[in-house]
């Protein structure tokens, strides 16, 4: 039996310990905000925060996060008003929106680590997250805005 804490709630799993966290979250726990985009940690759509670090849930097994604390987009802020989320809305970042949960989680993790990232640091830190619609200019500006106060 594997125990993990997701968005503050204790959960347990007695199935395949190698099951990727992504599919546990989406299909077993019903937390569909975390998206599948590639399955190979290439696109970042499945980014969640484990303890204080951004990880790709698609290549992280549920066993890897046993006893740890996982935060998904649903748990980032109780009312959805994390500075990153607010900045995203202020700059009308999304187009289709599918990659945005992963982008937001990556940005939130970046700001935990570096409260005032430069534009170069933002571009580097966010480059693991693909947006096929091409919202990068707004994502970059939104991360900057979140870091300077929304």
């Amino acid at each position: 039996m594997i125990k993990i804490k997701i968005n503050g709630q204790e959960q347990s799993w007695d199935g395949d310990p190698d099951l990727p966290l992504l599919w546990y979250l989406r299909d077993e726990a019903g937390l569909t905000g975390t998206k599948y985009g590639c399955g190979q940690a290439l696109c970042g759509a499945c980014t969640v925060i484990v303890d204080k670090e951004a990880v790709r849930a698609c290549i992280t097994s549920i066993n890897d996060v046993a006893g740890r604390e996982v935060t998904t987009i649903e748990g980032l802020h109780p009312s959805g008003d994390h500075p990153v989320q607010k900045a995203w809305r202020q700059l009308n970042v999304p187009q289709c929106g599918f990659c945005q949960a992963g982008q937001i989680m990556q940005a939130a993790a970046l700001l935990m680590d570096n409260q005032k990232p430069s534009h170069d640091q933002i571009r580097e830190a966010m480059s693991g997250n693909i947006c096929r619609c091409g919202c990068y200019q707004r994502i970059e500006n939104a991360v900057h805005l979140a870091s300077t106060g929304v």
């Binding site: 599948y36 696109c43 999304p94 289709c96 994502i139």
Partner: protein, 771 residues
């Protein structure tokens, strides 16, 4: 307009304005040859509107009826139906916003409800071809104005005053003479009993009174849900008892299953069943390829189970498809005469007598859509009925195809449209929904079919592969006197009909026969090319290779004649005029009447001049940097782009700045135009720098974002500026979603030439700038 107690019950109202019912959706629909022409409620008379669109000729035409699209609850909440699919363009916001504008509704009291697939009720729902605003600006205004008129009539009756004395203003109807007011909610029940006003008699708002349209201050309706993880895409649908499936499909188009061994797959924890999925022979439009499905309690288990399957395939007739050899075939075909599809003067003779002939042979390989959300669908088929949840661009077509595939009547099929995690044309093909329907029927349970990224790349409907060969003949003064353009590419029509070797009018009309230059001798030709995989629409379609070739050739001519590329471009476009294309048998013109949407070189010149001004064409740059320019008309819009590129001594390129000018006529939401054009620069850069799907032994060689890369933030332009041409009073709306992509690659390639002196004629750029 409906009076409703609960907006969720909106579906119960089935009355609508219909003139005819189309008998079938021809498979030729997408080929620009509509199977049955339907004129539903026509748009207003020409005198009133000054333009007509091709909307009425789309399958099931247009429905203009406020009772179908608008519902008002007693608390005043207005529900407006969005009948087109949201894939990132903002259409789910823009179309209801148009209704709200004319209705005088307060946008904060408006809720948007997504229509299910039902074209008899809603009119055409195909969200493709950059058509939604173009076709629905006027109908949505009419719908809003009709509902407003009914509210005004109801208020006038209540007060016993003439309807001409009352006016709807911001969610209320007011009688200013007596200072009386009634809220929309208070009037809704009465208004629903008012007769529908005639479309011809409607009074539309004066654009100077617009509160929302053209302002760009309204955010997309799903913004909060998207940023909090609550937005529901196809993959997010969960039903009680739902099974999760992935499918192993034939790796070669036209291949089929010989045998499979499920033993190892069934040992994987969570795997419940392994079963064959019916496939159709190639080509068969959007029907499933067939294969072996693994059914499990979650997607992870299904994927792991599929990895353990042992399968023997028969690769079929395309087992030898190989990209290097195929390119040679296309190149050879482009060097010989082909089917003449436009002819003015005598280009062959003029090329023989020309002082100088410049030849460019341009190549663009297959491309994959790789929308962030791979294809996915949920189906629940039982008791002879099917319910589908899917991110489809064509809900109506999906409904028809599910009915046909299951052999049940269309009214036994309902299609719920989720948000689309990107579409780009891939989700105009509903094969993934058909797979889910087939599996659910056999399992007797709801099932979700999830495509992996690898499936998306291996079994998609790829952008074609093309060679565009252009020969330009110049006289002694450097004037271009002859233009011969041969376009060779397998056609999308090959996905519908075996033996297709020529491109369809809708492909020839994307930058080949509609080439706008003022040249005396022109020949456009289409040599034969056979397809060996499924070809489909990819955002901007044939405009990508055409703009790349034509606009690169402009750069080459400028180089040969020592002219400034922007001046050369304007000289080739020539005098401001409406182009006549008498020699073109079927000028598709994006399905639009030519009177409303002619090829107008004045508008093309204007976007070139605007982008040159705003983009500071001619500014001095340090060594290793260069500017490139390109213009293209597509989806009846005009777009010009300037790219600034920097190439370092190792050949690494960066994009300091992009400027794009767009003339899309009358528009709704400039904020979403900006986002579409910003995104188009990224997609254009992706395909120019990396985009290449290759085949060996009939199989796609790429598998994921590592070997089919797209642009990431660290490579994206530092800044993309968008400049919108203010529309003329009666300029019809035109496309936005697709037109931004085509001019990007040639502008970039021309910029690279300016920076380095290297002329790239084959995409992707890949390693061509290295060493």
């Amino acid at each position: 307009m409906n009076f409703i107690e609960n907006p969720k019950k909106l579906r119960g109202f089935e009355k609508h304005v219909r003139i005819e019912k189309v008998s079938r959706r021809s498979i030729l629909k997408g080929l620009g040859i509509t199977g049955g022409f339907v004129l539903a409620a026509p748009v207003m008379s020409r005198q009133a509107l000054a333009y007509e669109t091709g909307a009425g000729k789309m399958p099931h035409g247009v429905v203009v009826d406020p009772r179908v699209f608008v519902a008002i609850a007693p608390d005043g909440i207005v529900t407006i139906v969005a009948h087109r699919s949201e894939m990132g363009t903002g259409v789910r916001t823009s179309l209801p916003l148009i209704v709200a504008e004319e209705l005088e509704a307060d946008w904060t009291k408006v809720r948007v409800q997504q229509a299910h697939g039902d074209e008899v009720k809603f009119g055409n729902q195909d969200t493709d071809g950059s058509r939604s605003t173009r076709h629905y600006l006027i109908p949505m205004r009419q719908i809003g104005a009709s509902a407003r008129t009914m509210l005004e009539q109801a208020a006038a009756k209540r007060w016993g005053v003439p309807a001409t004395e009352v006016k709807a203003v911001n969610h209320e109807v007011v009688h200013s003479a007596t200072s009386r007011k009634l809220g929309f909610g208070e009037l809704a029940a009465d208004a629903a009993r008012e007769p529908l006003p005639s479309i011809e008699g409607l009074k539309l708002k004066d654009p100077k009174d617009f509160r929302y349209l053209t302002k760009g201050q309204v955010s997309i309706v799903d913004l909060r849900d998207i940023t909090t993880g609550r937005a529901r895409y196809g993959a997010d649908v969960r039903l009680p008892g739902m099974k999760y499936a992935v499918i192993a499909r034939p790796p070669v188009t036209g291949g089929k299953l010989v045998s499979f061994d499920p033993a190892e797959a069934l040992k994987v924890p969570g795997v419940e069943k392994v079963m064959e999925v019916r496939g159709w022979p190639w080509p068969s439009k959007f029907q499933p390829l067939g294969g072996v499905a693994v059914i499990a309690r979650n997607t992870g288990a299904a994927i792991k189970g599929r990895d353990a399957l042992k399968i023997v395939w028969d690769d079929g007739p395309n087992g030898k498809y190989e990209s290097v050899a195929y390119r040679k075939e296309l190149e050879e075909a482009s060097r010989k005469p082909g089917l003449v599809v436009r002819k003015e003067g005598d280009a062959d003779a003029a090329l023989k007598t020309a002082d100088k002939v410049i030849v460019g042979e341009y190549y663009i390989p297959h491309l994959a859509h790789v929308s962030m959300e791979p294809p996915v669908a949920v189906a629940n088929v039982k008791d002879g009925k099917a319910e589908i949840w899917a991110p489809v661009q064509s809900p109506g077509g999906t409904r028809e195809d599910v009915a046909k595939t299951l052999g049940i009547p269309e009214d036994s099929v309902s299609v719920n449209v989720t948000l689309l995690g990107g579409g780009f044309g891939r989700k105009s093909k509903c094969d993934f929904a058909l797979e889910a329907a087939l599996l659910s029927k056999e399992l007797g349970a709801p099932v979700k079919v999830q495509w992996t990224r690898e499936d998306d790349i291996h079994n998609g409907f790829l952008h074609t592969v093309s060679v565009e060969r252009i020969e330009a003949g110049l006289d002694k003064s450097g004037k271009v006197i002859a233009w011969r353009h041969r376009s060779v590419a397998p056609s999308i029509a090959s996905t519908f009909a075996a033996g297709t070797v020529h491109q369809a009018p809708f492909e020839l009309g994307m930058g080949l026969v509609d080439m706008p230059f003022e040249i005396a001798n022109i020949s456009c030709e289409n040599p034969e090319a056979a397809a060996h995989t499924r070809i489909g629409w990819f955002r901007s379609v044939s405009n990508i290779p055409r703009a790349f070739a034509v606009q690169s050739m402009v750069g080459e001519i400028a180089q040969a004649t020592g002219r400034d590329p922007k001046d050369m471009l304007l000289e080739l476009i020539g005098s401001p005029r409406i182009i006549k294309l008498d020699s073109v048998k079927d000028l598709w013109n994006y399905g639009e009447p030519y009177d409303s949407y002619p090829i107008d070189t004045a508008r093309m010149r204007k976007v070139v001049e605007l982008v040159a001004e705003k983009g500071e064409w001619g500014r001095s740059l340090p060594k290793g940097r260069g500017l490139g320019i390109a213009v293209h008309r597509s989806f009846v819009s005009y777009i010009a782009t300037i790219v600034e590129v920097a190439v370092d001594d190792k050949g690494k390129l960066t994009i300091p700045r992009v400027d794009t000018a767009i003339d899309c006529g009358t528009y709704v939401n400039p904020e979403r135009i900006h986002s579409q054009i910003e995104g188009a620069a990224i997609m254009g850069l992706s395909l120019a720098k990396y985009g290449e799907i290759t085949f060996k032994d009939g199989k796609v060689q790429q598998k994921n974002y590592d070997d089919f890369p797209v642009i990431r933030m660290d490579e994206s332009p530092l800044v993309t500026n968008v400049h919108i041409v203010p529309p003329g009073a009666d300029t019809p709306p035109s496309g936005v979603g697709e037109p931004g992509v085509p001019p990007f690659a040639p502008a970039l390639i021309n910029a690279i030439f300016a920076a380095t002196g290297k002329r790239i004629r084959s995409l992707p750029i890949g390693k061509q700038l290295e060493a």
